[in-house]
């Protein structure tokens, strides 16, 4: 197998044109926050375009799953990380070389950059040789990098770099400094005067005393005096400096494109693994979902909203996990229950899980089967628009109309509390019409609403209800459970609190 990219198995799957624009549903699902957090600190790799492009077939997802699983091996992760650190250092050196002004200084920084690059490639090739790799992607890459490290050009680059460097390191010179002038000459084994002085006073040594050595701050750049000195040194020792100059001109294009692309693309996995380590540390689970573009009987156990969990963990709070499943002809979750009970979170979780699955990433949960969608449509109520009632309703209808027109049986639709600005009667009427349409479209759907009637619309709908603590209905559990939306859960819990349930009353009224 020939290696193309660590993100895509086949060339034709690759991203044609990288987009910097997030899909429009990103904000509704809080995916923007998640991707921001994942890519934070990795801006130099420009990873967002990768996260903006969901995969379309199960094989591509499998390709990434395998690679991600290889990288979950700590040794391999560290190997790649060490490679990445060196590549980063290399880029910094190149940047420094570009920034600098004096020729001898510039060229030396370039030499260091290439030296680091050689070390990065050699190290990675060596590490991967003994690594326990299983993924097709990594196996192909190993072959590539091993061959590259053995290639004529790379071997030439390596020896040439070492030679030029060794020649320069062998240069030793003297500077005689007077008040307003200095003289540079070759070093002629003049004796070390510090040692001489130290020896003269050695007989007085009485155990440890204070260190009077001054630590000098080393600036990266040369000042014009240092530059002048090096210029003189280059005149005294022309050969090594000439070699350096030739070397720089010959090897401007030292960087291998495939290696550079790997360095960037593998960060997609590294960034994601770093990110989810945070949650795993807090006891939350991730799994590799069974991804299919056929089967719509999806499920997820112990899932959670990554964006919410991220902020909860950082403030030290615990995270509530929820399960869901669809069986037979079920396609639509109708989520109802008290406010602030986690309904919107459930809807977002559903969207996030499917999106992350289509990234080829492990998803929140202990076990999952998720559908590979073609599109996601979201329609979330936005508070700030309530002031413009008429316009809003109209706007809502147009947008929903548009969604329904474009939705295919492979789409996911997420509706959150729509039409709240109109009367209950109208709401029910409109909602029923729309749910009929969605059922016809065969799309997967989560619909958050407080209209109980929708919950038992047909065999395609599943009723989910946000739960409260039985003895204290003002406390939310943030659990969303499958149960009929009888509007009773809330009332029953209040009753239980006042011991007015059937059982309680039977007991209390002791006749």
């Amino acid at each position: 197998m020939t290696f193309h990219s660590i993100l895509f198995e086949r060339i034709e799957d690759g991203i044609k044109k990288e987009t910097l624009e997030a899909p429009i549903y990103f904000a509704d699902l809080n995916l923007d926050q998640i991707i921001d957090a994942i890519t934070a600190g990795k801006q130099e790799y420009n990873l967002k375009p990768f996260f903006y492009t969901p995969l379309k077939d199960a094989d591509s997802v499998k390709y990434r799953h395998e690679i991600m699983q290889d990288l979950e091996n700590e040794a391999i992760f560290e190997n790649v990380n060490s490679f990445a650190r060196k590549m980063r250092a290399m880029r910094e050196h190149v940047m420094q070389a570009e920034r600098l002004y004096y020729k001898h200084e510039k060229e030396s920084w370039f030499l260091s950059a290439v030296e680091i690059y050689c070390d990065a490639v050699t190290g990675l090739a060596h590490d991967l040789t003994t690594a326990d790799l299983k993924s097709h992607g990594f196996l192909a890459f190993r072959e590539y990098v091993t061959n590259y490290a053995k290639s004529n050009y790379f071997v030439y680059l390596l020896t040439e770099t070492e030679k030029v460097k060794a020649d320069l390191s062998a240069v030793k010179y003297c500077v005689l400094i007077n008040d307003d002038s200095f003289t540079v000459s070759k070093y002629k084994s003049e004796i070390d005067y510090s040692a001489d002085v130290e020896a003269a006073f050695a007989k007085f040594k009485q155990g440890a005393v204070k260190d009077y050595g001054i630590i000098f701050k080393d600036s990266l750049d040369m000042n014009h005096i240092e530059a002048k000195i090096v210029e003189f040194v280059a005149r005294l020792y022309p050969a090594p400096f000439l070699n350096l100059d030739n070397y720089c001109r010959m090897n401007a294009d030292y960087l291998d494109e495939t290696i550079a692309a790997f360095d960037r693309e593998v960060q997609f996995y590294m960034a994601y693994l770093d990110f989810i380590a945070l949650f795993k540390h807090a006891g939350l689970k991730f799994c590799y979902p069974n991804v299919s573009d056929q089967c719509k009987e999806g499920y997820d156990r112990e899932g959670f909203d990554l964006a919410l969990a991220y902020s909860l963990i950082s403030e030290g709070s615990s995270v509530v996990c929820n399960d869901f499943y669809l069986k037979d002809k079920e396609r639509i979750f109708v989520v109802s229950g008290p406010n602030q009970g986690g309904k919107t979170t459930f809807a977002r979780t559903f969207g996030q899980l499917h999106y992350l699955a289509a990234m080829g990433c492990p998803v929140p949960g202990s076990d999952a089967r998720l559908f590979l969608f073609d599109r996601i449509f979201t329609h979330f109520e936005r508070e700030e628009d309530i002031t413009n009632l008429r316009g809003k309703l109209q706007d809502d209808l147009i947008r929903i109309h548009d969604i329904l027109n474009r939705a295919t049986p492979n789409s996911i639709i997420i509706m959150n509390e729509i039409f709240t600005s109109t009367t209950l009667k109208d709401q029910i009427f409109l909602s029923k019409k729309i749910i009929e349409k969605i059922i016809q479209s065969e799309s997967l759907c989560v619909w958050v609403t407080f209209i109980d009637d929708l919950a038992s619309f047909g065999e395609q709908t599943v009723s989910m209800v946000s739960m409260v603590v039985p003895h204290n209905p003002t406390l939310r559990t943030y659990k969303i459970e499958r149960r009929p939306a009888d509007g009773l859960a809330y009332a029953m819990s209040i009753a239980e609190k006042y011991r007015l349930t059937y059982d309680c009353l039977k007991e209390r009224i002791g006749l």
Binding site: S108, S181, D192, Q206
Partner: protein, 445 residues
């Protein structure tokens, strides 16, 4: 180079821990009178006197004899020893005036300060050498003989020439020569100061050198950034040597400091000796015996503290308690029992730190610890009762006690009725004796 006047092979450590009960010892044996007589108002002398006397219990037999012979030399040549002490004090004080280098931020400043201090020290060392040359034959003790031999050997004329040359070279009148290698970015690294060869090139080499072997750059007078950069480079070059020199300065300061400290003990002894001789009181060098022996014999032993506070001479005591582990002193009140106990204690301390003792003759086995348990005046602030307090102190003593310690009990356990007190005392004393402790017990009962 070491002074080694207090120990044959180690420095005298002014920071060493004194025994935890030093306050009780000082109070019960009225040692402050002794210390003040040694110091004569000099704070430094007071400090070393106190330290030397109270830490004397750690000394072995050899150290005691080593110091005795040094002290004998001192008493014989007191002017020379005081002169040496004066040189040490002067060098330290003058040298420390150059301490502005301590806060120096630049190797150049550190270097200049060190050179200045070293000039002072070299002149002090030369004076010491001169004393060694002139007077060493008047000294017999191992300590002084070794010190003078060291001074002569280490501080030869050639050595002083070498040092002088260094101090001149380090002024860098001909510029600072540094070597360097190429590091990252071709910037200089591994800066090292080099000694420029004195001799100029021969005519042959001068004629046949084709390429110039050196390039010189002269700064523009207004190039202040260049001047700063050049001076930093110079500082990098002399960083190591400035450190080496400043550390050497510290070391030599350390030598003078040690010489001063160790001599100051003998100066204190000489001060005390002079006062006792003026009063006509006898002194003698004691004969120490090993700690395992039970020896205690003396003639005309008197309490040095009491004598120093009285105008007239005081009465000494004779005694022989060789082979005894407990000595009980009884008799009427105001009969000098406490004074006698004090004279036993302070003589023991003076002997063990290497001093003479206030007696015509004195011989005792050395003890590994000396403890006093005196009746204390009733303290109203104290919550615990008197017997409580006494027994508490006794318990502390037992915590620190070691084999062959000596305990001085003065009217102990008298805070309760006689029968109980006796019983307590009996039990404690029996136990201590069985554990190999020597006891002096003053009681009126």
């Amino acid at each position: 180079m070491k002074a080694f006047l207090m120990h044959r092979d180690q420095d005298f450590d002014l920071r060493q821990q004194l025994p935890p009960h030093e306050q009780a010892l000082t109070q019960d044996l009225e040692l402050n009178t002794l210390f003040n007589a040694m110091a004569l108002g000099d704070k430094f002398l007071l400090e070393t006197a106190k330290h030397a006397v109270l830490s004397g219990l750690n000394n072995d037999l050899n150290t005691i004899l080593y110091r005795q012979s040094i002290l004998k030399d001192c008493l014989k040549n007191h002017d020379i020893v005081r002169h040496m002490y004066g040189i040490a004090v002067e060098s330290i004080e003058k040298g420390k005036k150059s301490v502005w280098w301590f806060s120096g931020r630049y190797p150049g400043g550190i270097l200049r300060g060190s050179i200045e201090a070293l000039q002072v020290f070299v002149s002090g060392l030369k004076k010491l050498r001169a004393i060694a040359d002139e007077h060493s034959d008047k000294f017999e003790s191992e300590g002084f003989t070794t010190l003078f031999r060291t001074l002569k050997k280490e501080l030869s004329d050639e050595y002083f020439t070498v040092i002088q040359n260094h101090l001149i070279n380090l002024e860098f009148n001909e510029g600072v020569l540094i070597s360097a290698e190429l590091g990252k970015g071709n910037k200089g690294i591994n800066y090292a100061l080099r000694k420029s060869p004195r001799e100029k090139k021969g005519w042959f080499e001068r004629i046949f050198t084709k390429k110039p072997s050196a390039y010189t750059f002269r700064l523009h007078p207004r190039d202040t950034r260049g001047a700063t950069a050049l001076s930093e480079l110079k500082n990098r070059g002399i960083n190591l040597v400035a450190n080496a020199l400043a550390q050497s300065t510290d070391h030599i300061l350390g030598f003078f400091g040690m010489l001063r400290t160790e001599l100051s003990f003998y100066i204190g002894c000489m001060n005390l000796h002079r006062q006792l001789v003026q009063k006509g009181e006898p002194t003698c060098f004691p004969l120490p015996a090993t700690s395992g022996e039970r020896r205690h014999s003396y003639q005309k032993l008197y309490d040095v503290g009491l004598s120093l506070t009285m105008k007239q001479r005081i009465v000494g005591n004779d005694g022989n308690a060789n082979g005894k582990s407990i000595i009980v002193i009884t008799g009427a009140n105001q009969g000098g029992k406490t004074t006698f106990l004090r004279s036993i204690g302070s003589a023991q301390l003076m002997m063990q730190c290497g001093m003479f003792v206030p007696a015509e003759s004195f011989s005792a086995s050395i003890c590994s610890g000396l403890f006093t348990h005196y009746k204390r005046e009733e303290d109203t602030t104290m919550k615990s009762g008197k017997l409580d307090e006494e027994l508490g102190r006794m318990s502390n003593i037992v915590d620190g006690i070691t084999l062959n310690s000596m305990v001085l009990l003065n009217e102990s356990f008298a805070a309760t009725n006689e029968r109980e007190g006796s019983e307590i005392a009996r039990q404690i004393i029996c136990a201590l004796l069985e554990k190999g402790i020597k006891i002096f017990f003053v009681t009126h009962q």
